[in-house]
Amino acid sequence: MTDTPRIGLYICHCGHNIAGVISPEALADAARDLPGVAVCQDHLYSCSEAGQRDIAKDIKQFGLNRMVVAACSPKLHESTFRRLLAENGVNPYLLEIVNIREHCSWVHAQEPAAATVKALELIRMGLAKVRDAVPLAERQVPLTRSALVIGGGPAGLRAALDIAHVGIPVILVERAPVLGGMANRLYKTFPRGQSSLSLINPMMAAVTLHPGITVLTDSAVTEVGGHLGNYRVMVTQARPRVTQACDLCGECAAVCPVKVPADPELGQAPRAAIYRPSPTAFPARYLVDRLHCDRCGLCVPACPRQAIILETEGEIEPALEVGAIVVATGFAPFEPAGSRYEAWAALPQVITTVDLERRLDPQGPTGGRVLAGGATAEPQDIAFVMCVGSREAEGNRYCSRVCCPTALKQALELKALLPQARIRIYYRDLRAVKREWEALYTRAREAGIGFMRAQVRDIRPSEAGQVVIEADQDLGQWVSADRVDLAVLAVGMTPGDNAPLREVLKLPVGTDGFFLESHPKLRPLETVLDGIFLAGACQGPKDLAESITQGSGAAGKILALMAHDTITLDGLICAVDPEKCIGCESCYQECPFQAVEMMGEGKTRQARIIEAACKGCGVCAGACPSGAVIARGFTDEMILAQIDAALAVNPEKKILAFCCNWCSYAGADFAGVSRMQYPPAVRIIRTMCAGRVHPKFILHAFARGAGQVLVSGCHPPGDCHYISGNLRAQARMEKLWPKLAKKGIDPTRLRLEWISATEGRTFQQVIQAMAEKIAGAKAKREKGLKDWGGTGKRGKGEKGETQGPEDGLP
C-alpha cells in the first residue's frame, strides 16, 4: 500500500481558542510546502458544517488520500473527521488529529512564540505519522445466534428465559442433578417472607417447558475455545443410569437395600442408593448414587418401565457452538468445618443459618421443628452469631451482605414459631442496606429480639445441654457469658469451587475469589473476555433480587449482541508479520487478552493474532524483539517517524512523552481544559496503552538526543484499560533503567509516571519537573550527581508514588 501521499492539512482557529495564541495563518504558510501536503487551509471552526463542506470539496478537487487536522483533542472530533472521510470515499483511518488546543494554545498562553513553534512541530509529527498510515478495515466477525448459560440457579434461570424468549436458543448447563441452585435450600425469602418454592419453581418449570432452552444437568463445561460471537464449548455430562422412561413411581427405591444416612445440610432425609434428588426441583428423575450403589441389581427388575441400566458408564460429551456465554455459577455457603469455627460447629447445639433454613421448612427433614441436637423440647434461648466466615482478619475479608437480612428474617420466623423464646443477635455492624431490609430490622426490634454489638470469642459446652457464648461487648467494653439452647452461625457466601471453570474460561477472579467483572461500575456484567458475561453471586455476594436483576442484565447484553448478524470491531488491532516473526512467544505471554496463538512447531513456530479477541492495545508490539508485530494505527514506523520529527531541532531541550490514550493523554487534555500552564518543551506521542511503548523507541529518542523521555499510563493496578498493560510498561522500564546506565545515558532522563484522566495538575507538575531537569542537566552532569531529585511535590489526588529509576540501579 504505497500510494503517493496527498495530504490535506487543516488548521483550526477554534474561534480564539487556538487563534488567540497561535496564528493559524502563519502555521498554514509554514506548513503548506511540507512534504506530502497537497493542500493546506485554515478554518474558523473545522468541525463546523462550513469547515466540513470546504474539506469535502478539497478531497474531490485535490484527490486527497490522507488528512491531518490540527485542532482540538482527538477525543472530541476524531470520530467527526473519520466520518467525513468515509463519506467522501477515503478510508477513515488515513487521518491524524494534531492536538494544538489542549496540548498547546491553552497551556502555553503566555508564550505565543514558543507555542507557534511547538504547534508547527506537532503538525510535522502528525504529517510524519499519517504518511505511513494504511487503510484499515473494520472487522466483521460472524455471530452464532445461540447462548450458553452456565449455572441453573435463579440468575441463570432468569438469563436463560430472557434470552430464549426473544427467540435465541439457549443451552443451560448445571453441575447438580437438578436446577434451582441454592434457592432449593431456602424455605422463605426476605424481605416479604414469600416461599422460595413459589418464586423459583415457576422459573424452573418455564425453563423446562421452553422449546428454545436445552437443559443439561449433571454436566460440566470442560473446554471453551473461540471468541466473541463464536465460542466452541465442550460439555461433559454423566451418562444417566435411569433413562427418560422413568415415571417417578419409586418402586426402585423401595427395593434398594442400601441406606444412605441423612444429610441435613442438603435437606436430605435418609435415602436409598437410587433416589430422587429433590421432590420439588426440575428435572424430576431418579438417580443412581454411584458412590453408594453396590450394584446388587434388585432395582432393575423392580422397575416396571425397564428404565434402569446399571452398567451405563462414561460420559456424553456434547460439543456446542454458541455466540455468547453467561456465567451464573452462584456461591457456596461458608463451611465452618476446617475453619476456626470447627469446634463451635461440632457442638450439637450449634447449627448454621443454612441448617436452620431447612429445619424451618415444614416439608424439610425435621418437618418444620427446630430442635437443638438431641433435645426433645424446642429451644427457649436462641442466639445468632453474625459474620461467621465474613469480615475476618484472615480468610474471607469481605462482607457477605445477605447474612444480616437472613438472620433478621429467621429470627422473626423463630419468634413466630416459638413466641416464648428469647432470641438475641450478636452482630458487629447490622447491615440492612436496603429499604425493606431496614424495615425487617425495625420489626425484629419491635418483636423483642435482642441485639448485641459484640465479637463472639468462644462458644463452649455448658451443663444441661446448653452452650455458653462468650463475647466482647463493644458497647461498654465488657465480656459477656450467655447460656443458650441453640446457637445459629450466620455463615457467609464463598465463591465455592469455581477453580475448574476458571481454568476453562481463563476468567480472572478478584482477591475475594469471586469472578472479576470488567469494570466495577461501567461494565459490571461484562468480563475482560468479550461475549462472556457474569450474573448473580458468582461475581460477589448478592440477594435473590440482585441476582435475578443481573440475570436479566446479562441477557440484555446478549440480546444487544444478537440483534446483529455480525459484530463490527474497529480496525485498530495488531497483526504479525510472518517474515519477521521468530516464534519467541513474547507477545503470546504478554497479551492481556489471550488474543495471540502460537501456530506450528519448531522452526516454523510463529505467532498469530486472533483478530476477534484483539483489543488493539499494542502490548504485544511493545514486547516484540524482532519488530514483527504491527500495531495498526500505531506502528513502529509511525512512532519512530513521530520521534524523528519531534526531535529534529534542539532535541536536548525536548521532553518526549508517551501518553496512553485513556488516562495520561486525557490527563494532558484535562490540564489543557483547566488552562494549567507548563513549559512548551514537551512533545506528546499518543499510544493506546503505555504497554505499547517498546524500549527501542526510548533508545531511539536518546540516540536522537532527547533531553528527557516520559512514559505515562493509568494508575496500577486497576485503572489500565487493558488489564495490565501499565504493569508491562513498568517491567520494561525497570529493565531499561540499568541498561541506560550501562550505555552511559543518565537513567534519570527516563521517567515513568501514572497520570489519570483527571490529574491535569500532576501532568503539569511532571512536565515542569522534567523541564527543570533539562535546564539543570548540564550542571548536574558536571557535578556528577546521580540521585534522582524530582520535585518532591505530589499532585492533588495523585494515587501512586512517583516512579524513579533507583530500584533498577546497582
Partner: protein, 541 residues
C-alpha cells in the same frame, strides 16, 4: 360455557388452606381438587393430564403472571388455560369470590391486539438511563432519551471519585455520555420535560416539552466565547452554589450535548453574547417546543434527590459555614470544582480536622426511615480523598453501623482504618459554632463511653437519598409509588425492574437508593425486560 371444575394449586404461599377452599367450592356444587404445587414436577404432571384431556371446563386456581414466569401459557399455548390468581388473595372469602366470578364468566374476552411500537422512551439521563438506552439502541431499538437537565450524566457527573476503586467519576462516565450522543439509534432530548403520557404497553403516546436554550443546537459549537462576554454572574447550581457562573453557560466541561444555554430568569437582554457568537447561534426569542412520540415501552430512570439537611436543624447546616453535605464535599475536592480541587473550607481556610457524620436523614423515623446504603462507603471514600489532599488531616467518621456491604467495600473500610481514619460509634447529637465560627461536634462515644466535643474545620453530612418529588404526567393509571415516593417494583424479587404499570420499567435510584454498579446492572436488566415485552407483544399482534 361456564366451568364447573377447579384445580387448586397447593402453593405454600396461599393465605388460606387449599383444602378448605376446595370444601367451600364443593358446597357450592363445584368440583374442586387440590393438586401439589403446580410448579413442581408432580403438580406439572397433574396439569399436563388435565390439558391432555381437553381441560376446557377446568379453571386453575394458582398465582398471577408476575409469579408464574409464563409456564402456564407455555404448557398449553393454544388452549389458554384459564388461571385465577388466588395466591395474592388475603383470605378465603376473597379467593372464593375471585373464583366464583371466574366460574360465572363467559369465555375470557380476547384482548384486542394493538400495533406494537418498537421505539422506547427512557426518562432520565443518569448512568442508569444511559445504560438502558445504550443496550436498547445496540439491540436495534430506536430510543428517545429525555433528560430534564442541560446535560446527561446525572449525579455521577458531579462526583469527584467513585468507590471502592477511587477512580475518577467523569473520566469513566464521559465516554459513555459521548457514546449515547453519537449513537444513531438514540435521540437525545435534553432540557426537556414530559407533559403527557397516555396509552398502554406497546403503544404509549408521549408529549415532550423542550425548554428553550436560546441557542441554536446545530450552530453552537460549544466554544464558550459567549460565557466570557456575559456580564451576569450567578451561582452555579451544578456546583451546588459553591462556584459562580455566567447567565449564559455550558453546564460543565464534559457536558453532553456540549452547548451553551441562557438562563432567561437572569438574562438582562444586553445582547453581548449575541454579538460575540461567531456562529450567530444565539437567539433570545426562542420559545418552548413540543414533540409527540409514540413508544412501545418506557424506562423510568429518574433518580433520587439528596436529603436536604437544613430541616435536621441540630446539625447547623446552612448556619455554620463549615458544615457541608457530602455532595458539596465531592465538588470541593474535584479538580473542576469551585476550589479547583483544593481541600479548603467554604470560607477558604485549610482543613486540618475533618469529620463525617453518617445517617443524616437516613434511618431516622422523622425523615427517611430506611438506610440509604451508599453513604457509609461514600464517606470512607471521601475520607481517603481528604487524606490524599492533606495527608496530615485528622479525619473522624461518626457512625451508627458501618454498612460496607458491596464488592470491595469492606476492603476500602479496612484501608481507611489502616490509613488512620478514626471511627467513632455514635451519631452526634448536635453541631454548634465554636468561638471562631468553626463547627464543634458534640458526641457520645458508645464504645469507649463518655461524651466529648470535637472542633473541626469542616463537618461533612452524609445525607441520605430521598425519592424524586414530582409525579410524571400519566393520564390514566400511573406506576405505583410507595408511601415515601419511590417507584414500586411489580415484585420485589422476581420483577425488580418492572413498575406496577405494564410497559413501564424501572432502573436505578428512582425505586430506592443504590450504588452506581447496581444502577448500571439495572439499566441493562431493564433493557432486556423491555426487549422481552416488545417481542411478546409483537408476537401477539
Amino acid at each position: 360455557m361456564t366451568r364447573r371444575k377447579v384445580l387448586i394449586c397447593a402453593c405454600p404461599d396461599l393465605a388460606m388452606d387449599g383444602r378448605e377452599l376446595a370444601a367451600r367450592l364443593k358446597q357450592a356444587g363445584v368440583q374442586a381438587d387440590v393438586a401439589p404445587p403446580l410448579c413442581t414436577p408432580d403438580g406439572l404432571a397433574r396439569l399436563k393430564k388435565l390439558t391432555a384431556a381437553k381441560a376446557r371446563p377446568w379453571l386453575v386456581a394458582a398465582c398471577g403472571p408476575e409469579i408464574h414466569a409464563g409456564f402456564f401459557p407455555a404448557l398449553a399455548p393454544e388452549a389458554r388455560l384459564p388461571v385465577v390468581d388466588v395466591r395474592s388473595c388475603p383470605d378465603l372469602e376473597t379467593a372464593l369470590g375471585a373464583l366464583t366470578l371466574a366460574l360465572e364468566a363467559r369465555e375470557q374476552p380476547e384482548i384486542p391486539a394493538v400495533p406494537v411500537c418498537r421505539e422506547v422512551l427512557v426518562v432520565g439521563g443518569g448512568v442508569g438511563g444511559c445504560q438502558a438506552a445504550l443496550d436498547l439502541a445496540n439491540a436495534g431499538f430506536k430510543v428517545y432519551l429525555v433528560e430534564s437537565s442541560l446535560s446527561i450524566g446525572g449525579t455521577m457527573a458531579q462526583l469527584d471519585k467513585t468507590f471502592p476503586t477511587l477512580d475518577c467519576s467523569i473520566c469513566i462516565l464521559g465516554p459513555k455520555l459521548v457514546e449515547v450522543a453519537a449513537h444513531p439509534n438514540i435521540e437525545l432530548l435534553s432540557y426537556a420535560s414530559l407533559s403527557r403520557i397516555a396509552g398502554q404497553a406497546g403503544s404509549f403516546e408521549v408529549e415532550v416539552t423542550i425548554k428553550p436554550r436560546y441557542v441554536n443546537m446545530s450552530k453552537c459549537v460549544g466554544c464558550a466565547t459567549c460565557t466570557t462576554v456575559c456580564p451576569v454572574i450567578v451561582p452555579s447550581r451544578w456546583n451546588l452554589g459553591l462556584k459562580p457562573r455566567k447567565c449564559i453557560r455550558i453546564i460543565f466541561a464534559q457536558a453532553v450535548p456540549l452547548r451553551a444555554t441562557i438562563e432567561k430568569d437572569y438574562c438582562i437582554d444586553c445582547q453581548m453574547c449575541v454579538a460575540a457568537c461567531e456562529h450567530q447561534a444565539i437567539n433570545l426569542l426562542y420559545r418552548p417546543s413540543q414533540r409527540r412520540l409514540t413508544v412501545g415501552a418506557i424506562v423510568l430512570a429518574t433518580g433520587a434527590h439528596p436529603f436536604d439537611p437544613t430541616i435536621k436543624s441540630e446539625y447547623g447546616y446552612g448556619r455554620i459555614p463549615g458544615v457541608v453535605t457530602n455532595l458539596e464535599f465531592e465538588r470541593i475536592v474535584c479538580a473542576t470544582g469551585p476550589t479547583l480541587g483544593s481541600l479548603i473550607t467554604p470560607e477558604g481556610q485549610p482543613v486540618r480536622r475533618l469529620a463525617f457524620i453518617q445517617c443524616v436523614g437516613s434511618r431516622d423515623r422523622r425523615f427517611l426511615p430506611y438506610c440509604s446504603g451508599y453513604c457509609c462507603t461514600a464517606s470512607i471514600k471521601e475520607a481517603m480523598l481528604a487524606l490524599e489532599h492533606e495527608p496530615e488531616c485528622e479525619v473522624t467518621i461518626f457512625f451508627n453501623d458501618i454498612r460496607t456491604s458491596g464488592k470491595g467495600f469492606e476492603e476500602l473500610y479496612l484501608r481507611a482504618q489502616a490509613a488512620g481514619v478514626r471511627f467513632i460509634k455514635g451519631l452526634p447529637g448536635r453541631i454548634q459554632a465554636g468561638d471562631d465560627g468553626r463547627p464543634v461536634i458534640g458526641f457520645e462515644d458508645q464504645e469507649r463511653g463518655g461524651r466529648g466535643e470535637l472542633a473541626v474545620d469542616m463537618a461533612v453530612l452524609a445525607v441520605g437519598l430521598e425519592a424524586p418529588g414530582e409525579p410524571l404526567p400519566f393520564v390514566d393509571l400511573a406506576p405505583g409509588r410507595d408511601g415515601l415516593g419511590f417507584y414500586q417494583a411489580r415484585h420485589p424479587i422476581l420483577h425488580p425492574l418492572e413498575s406496577t404499570l405494564p410497559g413501564v420499567f424501572l432502573a436505578g435510584t428512582c425505586q430506592g437508593p443504590r450504588d452506581i454498579s447496581e444502577t448500571v446492572c439495572q439499566g441493562s436488566g431493564a433493557a432486556a425486560r423491555v426487549i422481552r415485552l416488545l417481542t411478546d407483544l409483537a408476537g401477539k399482534s
